[in-house]
């Protein structure tokens, strides 16, 4: 691309876009200004796209217009998916983003206006490799989340060695191309090998680890866009890519910390497979269970209730019923708060979005550090489809796979009630000693159905 000529015309528009993008992230930080953030991002993107359409290099608009229309036609429905489908939507959009970055790099390789120098070859090679592996990796992740592909980690002996060998060949081909840029016939092989590596990277990872993988892929997608900015000398791409890349990276670090696991363990640990078997070995212990009627009675008598939602609430789509429960308890003067663990659910911020969708005011959603001190003064901790994030073994049992993961101190509440369908373990595949404690009541059933029944009982006793 004739970069300098293009730059001169468009640079001020692109600078405006960059400033708006940064303000967009800045304003997103708090719920009060966050919608302004979206607006700033939209205006910035519109300025950049419109300015580009005036680029004198463009000689044919037909395919651009058609592609924009198709893009909008795909984007709008993808923007309207249900909240529970947001994880797979995100993975899919990483696939799209990485695909375009890779495609642009490939096109640039084949028809760069200047002859490709070694240095440029290195940039393009790296960019296309990262873009390609992110593309296939994100597709696999989306497939696992949508449950088209098997969720369990698919592992075989020596798999890490095979994967590394594949990555090594992709990089090796890139190096050969740098040393001798004339060997252009190697380029397609490099692309294919990188695509294969993306598949090998994500397939062995368990479905439940997908959120961390998505965030990592997010940062790869960002960095490939930034690299593309280096290749095309487009600073707006460099900035947007760096922002996206750091965002994905920070979110994955936050998740790993909240699970007390390392990147290596997530990527190569095949979590959720080996450990699952060990849970069965546990000796039988007694639990106390209760009916919706009893649960309603206990809740009615309480003055402070903390609701702990988890993945099960998302699966059962129980958020609207939970909202009704919140309303009917609040109406009776019960103080109801929500305790949101940072990795409750299957995505950072998952519970917040679902509860916001159901119109629960966000100032009642408390972060773990904020609410943990309140449990001793809490009458009832009502756990709805959460498991690992409430497991006291993380604090006490050094042999537990989740030892050291920060958890919610639900067992300190006067009474703890747990809605879930069975005694089955959660994502980490381990038993939860909470369920055998004296002040714990198990409420067996589907989250949505059980909460509906509690609400019914409450309104009956009220009427």
């Amino acid at each position: 691309m004739n970069a300098p000529a293009l730059q001169q015309y468009l640079d001020f528009a692109y600078i405006a876009a960059v400033v708006l993008f940064i303000l967009s992230l800045k304003w997103l930080s708090s719920p009060r200004t966050s919608r302004w953030g979206v607006l700033a991002g939209e205006i910035g993107a519109a300025i950049a796209v419109i300015a580009t359409l005036f680029n004198p290099e463009l000689i044919q608009y037909k395919w651009i217009v058609i592609a924009l229309i198709i893009g909008a036609g795909i984007g709008i429905p993808l923007g309207m998916v249900k909240m529970t489908a947001v994880p797979q939507r995100t993975a899919l959009s990483h696939a799209f983003g990485a695909m375009s970055a890779a495609i642009i790099g490939i096109a640039e390789f084949y028809v760069g206006t200047a002859p490709v120098t070694r240095f440029e070859m290195g940039e393009i090679g790296l960019e296309v490799i990262i873009g390609s592996l992110t593309f296939t990796g994100s597709l696999i992740a989306a497939g696992k989340l949508q449950e088209i592909l098997p969720q369990r980690p698919i592992v075989y002996r020596g798999q890490n060695i095979v994967s590394l060998a594949v990555l090594g060949s992709a990089l090796g081909l890139a190096i050969v191309l740098v040393v001798n840029p004339a060997y252009t016939f190697l380029f397609p092989f490099m692309v294919v090998v990188a695509l294969v590596f993306g598949i090998l990277l994500v397939t062995p990872i368990g479905g439940a680890d997908m959120p961390t993988v998505i965030s990592l892929l997010n940062s790869y997608a960002g960095f490939s866009a930034a690299l593309l900015g280096f290749v095309l000398n487009s600073k707006v791409l460099v900035v947007a890519g760096a922002l996206d890349g750091s965002s994905g990276f920070i979110l994955s670090v936050i998740m790993c910390k909240a699970m007390n696991r390392s990147f290596t363990n997530v990527l190569f640990g095949a979590f959720g497979q080996v450990t699952a078997s060990s849970a069965a070995a546990h000796e039988e212990r007694t639990v106390r269970s209760a009916s919706p009627e009893e649960a309603a009675g206990i809740l009615e008598a309480a003055s402070k209730v903390v609701i702990v939602p988890g993945y099960g609430m998302a699966v059962a789509q129980a958020q609207h019923k939970v909202r009704e429960l919140y309303d009917s308890l609040t109406k009776r003067g019960v103080d109801v708060q929500f305790a949101i663990h940072p990795v409750a659910g299957r995505m950072p911020g998952h519970m917040n979005v679902l509860l916001a969708e159901a119109d629960v005011p966000y100032d009642h959603l408390k972060e773990m550090d904020e609410i943990n001190g309140d449990f001793p003064q809490t009458d009832v901790a009502l756990i709805i489809g959460a498991n690992d994030v409430t497991n006291p073994a993380a604090k006490t049992d050094k042999s537990s796979p989740i030892y050291g993961m920060p958890v919610l101190d639900v067992e300190k509440a006067h009474t703890t009630m747990v809605i879930k369908r069975s005694m089955n373990p959660g994502f980490a595949g381990i038993d939860n000693p909470l369920y055998y404690m004296d002040n714990t009541l198990m409420l067996f059933g589907d989250a949505k159905a059980f909460v509906t029944n509690i609400v019914k009982e409450l309104s009956n006793s009220h009427g």
Partner: protein
């Protein structure tokens, strides 16, 4: 090493610091919208795709460019759209009483 590389490196490093400082202060409440917003911003690669698709060098590059335009523009439209949809849902107790 092209001279542009150095200035792009400055921009990358500085933008990385900006991103780091801003994003680590995003409330955990909003981590899901954050992911979709940065997705939409990243879709700005559409501007590079537009150039490729419209420069009309070979049929191959035009086709590749058009695919890239469609893919990234769908991210841009969908990303902003879903982010705004999610954020509209976040209401504080106070604003609701009004």
């Amino acid at each position: 090493m092209p001279a542009d590389f150095i200035s792009n490196l400055y921009v990358f490093i500085l933008a990385g610091f900006v991103g780091f400082e801003l994003i680590k202060r995003v409330s955990p409440l909003l981590h899901t919208p954050l992911m979709s917003l940065t997705n939409a911003l990243d879709a700005i690669v559409v501007v590079a795709a537009i150039i490729i698709a419209g420069r009309h060098q070979t049929t191959l590059t035009t086709a590749l460019g058009a695919i890239a335009v469609a893919a990234s523009f769908s991210n841009m439209v969908g990303g902003f759209f879903i982010t705004d949809r999610m954020l509209r849902m976040f209401k504080s107790g106070r604003s609701k009483k009004q």
